[in-house]
């Protein structure tokens, strides 16, 4: 029981860690590239590393925090321009080749001894050299806090029955969320669409012309229940989050190196990024992105400047990547080797797991990906004797399982958790 509780606790810690949030943001950027525009960027870690270097080097040299952030963004912007200018006019595969090699070049330049004064070469930059201005912003004060302050140990000292009831309630909440989301999807085309771009471009207004088919009835039903359903989903999500922290009380320093402060900022930024992406993709500009993903030439024939729009998408996704990179190094250090190809693949795993071309997919995917990896590692450590698999091997084993899981997702649920299966039927 205690082992299971410990594994669950570490899963939760990993799920809410600032680095998970950082990967979620980078995956949101990748979603703009790959999910919405169809740009195959295999060098997202390059954008992240540039953002991190821009941020860490400038602050390390005494520039203010805001300048550091802006320089990180500027580096990613230039990177996007340099990569995009020659390749966005060519077929999609060229961008893939160029991005993956450019990201590797950035990493090798970063770890080369030539620029040791700036990048610290392979040793990287220590967090202390750039973290202080950010920590000083904290209004959380010193000391430790536990989330949630009211938790299982307050009821009957965390007896087994309390835990069981709690977990059952959590399972019920999650089942409720799944049911509500599915109910919104299962309806005929009109309803599905209305729930998809929650902006409601078509929702009740579409009821004006009368059509004597099934869709007309369903439309009315959804028109009534859509806001209620959305509120229900929101309430259940809030309740599940509370239950998680109720069942697995987690404590950190309030500010500290890697405490609640950096977690708070990280997840706040995730929320802001989600909002920005939502605003972007529900607009006609977002429609253009999807059009380009489907068929560039068709969009060209309609008088749209495809190159400019692809460039805009590449830059925006790259800026998300840079922001993710800055967050990634904030509680740790800038290590070029920890931000290589595998980080890009983690971003892709998160994206595909959650569902490409959905709003929440990348975040959900990142959380599940990191939590699942810790779970595999924890279970293997606890229940597989060291003679079969030692600590280091479980680490590698967890990556193998994740890789196999990714393959299974792509084969059996290519649309990811939140994706729309119907869209995939028309693969071109």
């Amino acid at each position: 029981m205690d082992t299971i509780q410990a594994i669950l606790n570490s899963m939760l810690r990993e799920a809410i860690s600032p680095q998970t949030a950082a990967v979620a943001i980078a995956a949101i950027g990748l979603n703009v590239h790959f999910g919405f525009t169809g740009l195959l960027n295999i060098g997202q870690s390059g954008f992240m590393l540039l953002g991190a270097y821009g941020f860490a080097i400038s602050i390390g040299h005494g520039l203010p925090l805001i300048v550091g952030v802006l320089l990180g963004f500027a580096a990613a912007l230039v990177f996007a321009l340099v990569l995009g200018a020659p390749t966005l006019k060519l077929r999609g595969d060229y961008l893939a080749i160029v991005t993956i090699s450019a990201a590797e070049i950035i990493r090798y330049v970063g770890r080369s001894a030539l620029l040791t004064d700036f990048t610290g070469a392979a040793q990287g930059l220590q967090g202390v050299s750039y973290r202080t201005p950010f920590t000083n912003l904290s209004f959380f004060g010193d000391g430790d806090s536990t989330l949630s302050p009211f938790n299982i140990y307050d009821i009957a000292g965390g007896a087994v029955w309390v835990r069981l009831v709690g977990w059952l309630a959590l399972a019920a909440c999650i089942a409720g969320i799944v049911l509500l989301v599915k109910a919104g999807r299962a309806r005929p085309t009109v309803a599905r669409r209305a729930s998809r771009d929650a902006g409601g471009r078509l929702t009740p207004a579409a009821g004006t012309e009368s059509r004597a088919d099934l869709g007309a009835d369903a439309r009315q039903v959804t028109a009534v229940s859509a806001p209620v359903r959305r509120m229900g989903i929101g309430a259940l999500i809030a309740l599940s989050v509370f239950l998680l922290f109720f069942l697995m009380p987690t404590s950190y320093q309030d500010t500290g190196v890697s405490g609640w402060w950096v977690r708070f900022v990280a997840w706040l930024l995730v929320a802001v990024c989600l909002l920005v992406v939502y605003l972007l993709v529900r607009s006609p500009w977002g429609r253009l992105l999807r059009g380009i993903r489907e068929d560039e030439d068709a969009i060209r024939s309609l008088g749209k400047n495809v190159f400019a729009i692809k460039m805009q998408a590449l830059i925006i996704g790259g800026l998300f990547g840079a922001l993710g990179g800055m967050l990634y190094v904030l509680p740790a250090s800038v290590q070029p080797d920890s931000m290589g190809r595998s980080l890009t693949f983690f971003c892709y795993t998160a994206l595909l797991l959650g569902g490409a071309a959905t709003i929440f997919g990348p975040v959900l995917g990142a959380v599940i990906f990191y939590a699942a990896r810790i779970m595999i590692k924890g279970v293997a450590n606890a229940y597989i004797p060291d003679s079969i698999m030692n600590g280091q091997q479980t680490e590698q084993f967890s990556f193998i399982v994740v890789g196999v899981a990714l393959m299974l997702i792509v084969i059996f649920r290519p649309q990811g958790i939140l994706g729309n299966k119907r869209e995939l039927r028309f693969n071109v």
């Binding site: 085309t189 009109v190 669409r193 902006g199 471009r201 078509l202 059509r211 088919d213 869709g215 920005v276 605003l279 972007l280 607009s283 006609p284 500009w285 977002g286 429609r287 253009l288 999807r290 059009g291 993903r293 489907e294 068929d295 030439d297 068709a298 969009i299 060209r300 024939s301 309609l302 008088g303 749209k304 400047n305 495809v306 805009q312 925006i316 119907r422 869209e423 995939l424 039927r425 028309f426 693969n427 071109v428």
Partner: protein
């Protein structure tokens, strides 16, 4: 503006169009009284073969011009060249073409469309994983919401969006696709995709529309109403250039016919004249079905008048309905 309205109402009348084109020589590359598109020395070679080699072609404004020719004559390649989807091999040796007075030699495909010359594709390009409505909305020009800086502020574009949506619905209604508006375009049949593509092209109110085999795969009843629609486009002042293999259709609606064979422009003229032209019959009999063309040659003027009356009656009926 006033000048063009006069011209519009004029060209809606068949007699005026006939009178206008009667003065034009029925020879390849002849000059037109008011050409909207002028093409000079456009050559495109693929390896050894010359797909297009047109030394001069003018397209008259405000009428329907048909571009015909056997398979592989270079019609699609010609479309690609003048709409910026392909570059002529003769780019540096005198290729020159202009649309509505503006030179297009080095213009990108999107700028050509922006200038008012919109095309459709022989192999349709429906945006499969988007709804029919989204496909249509993409066709509209000058959308404020397509600007990255404005797109996050919905009030800046929601009004325009509604207007565009209304227009899209109207067009979809006319093309019998309204019931499909929330389906994915990928779920449409081949003929429906043709219709969608044509409707989408019309969303931009083009000055000139270039249709590559718009009727291929569309059922006869709908073809009739599409022909009516193309004619009403012309009557509203849009220039139409279309590629078509069905000689009945060509005869039915075109005011002028240009014939290509093996990349060259071999004949031009009114439908009747062209179809009895020996060069044209040669070009077709060599490579194409012979019966159709033969049948058409038998069609008398009286039959033409009958067809036209039929169409007029149908149109009147439709207008009554509306």
């Amino acid at each position: 503006m006033s000048e063009s309205t006069v011209a519009r109402s004029d060209l809606a009348d068949p007699a005026t169009r006939q009178a206008l084109m009667a003065g034009v020589d029925a020879t390849p590359g002849s000059a037109k009284p008011d050409s909207i598109l002028v093409v000079d020395n456009i050559v495109r070679q693929f390896g050894g073969i010359t797909a297009v080699d047109v030394s001069h072609l003018e397209v008259q404004r405000g009428i329907i011009t048909a571009l015909i020719g056997p398979n592989g004559a270079g019609k699609t390649t010609f479309f690609n060249l003048i709409t910026g989807f392909d570059k002529p091999s003769s780019a540096k040796t005198g290729a020159h073409w202009s649309f509505d007075g503006a030179t297009l030699d080095k213009t990108s495909a999107s700028s050509v469309a922006k200038a008012g010359m919109v095309r459709t594709f022989q192999l349709t390009k429906a945006l499969s994983r988007m709804t029919v409505m989204d496909n249509m909305m993409l066709g509209a020009q000058g959308q404020a919401g397509e600007n990255l800086l404005k797109c996050v502020f919905k009030p800046l574009w929601s009004g325009q969006e509604k207007a565009i949506e209304e227009k899209a619905k109207e067009l979809l209604q006319r093309f019998k696709l309204l019931e499909k508006k929330d389906d994915y375009a990928g779920s449409l049949s081949g003929g429906q995709r043709k219709l969608l593509e044509m409707a989408r092209a019309l969303m931009s109110d083009p000055k000139m529309i270039m249709l590559d085999e718009p009727m291929a795969g569309v059922n006869p009843a709908l073809t009739q109403s599409l022909l009516g629609h193309i004619q009403s486009l012309r009557d509203d002042g849009t220039t139409v250039l279309f590629v078509e293999h069905d000689m009945h259709v060509v005869r039915h609606i075109s005011d002028w016919v240009a014939v290509m064979a093996e990349g060259r422009l071999v004949a031009e003229g009114p439908a009747d004249t062209v179809m009895s032209d020996t060069a044209v019959i040669d070009a077709y009999l060599g490579a194409h079905h012979d019966t159709d063309l033969g049948d058409d040659a038998l069609l008398s003027d009286q039959a033409m008048v009958e067809i036209q009356q039929e169409v007029a009656a149908e149109q009147a009926e439709r207008e009554e309905e509306a």
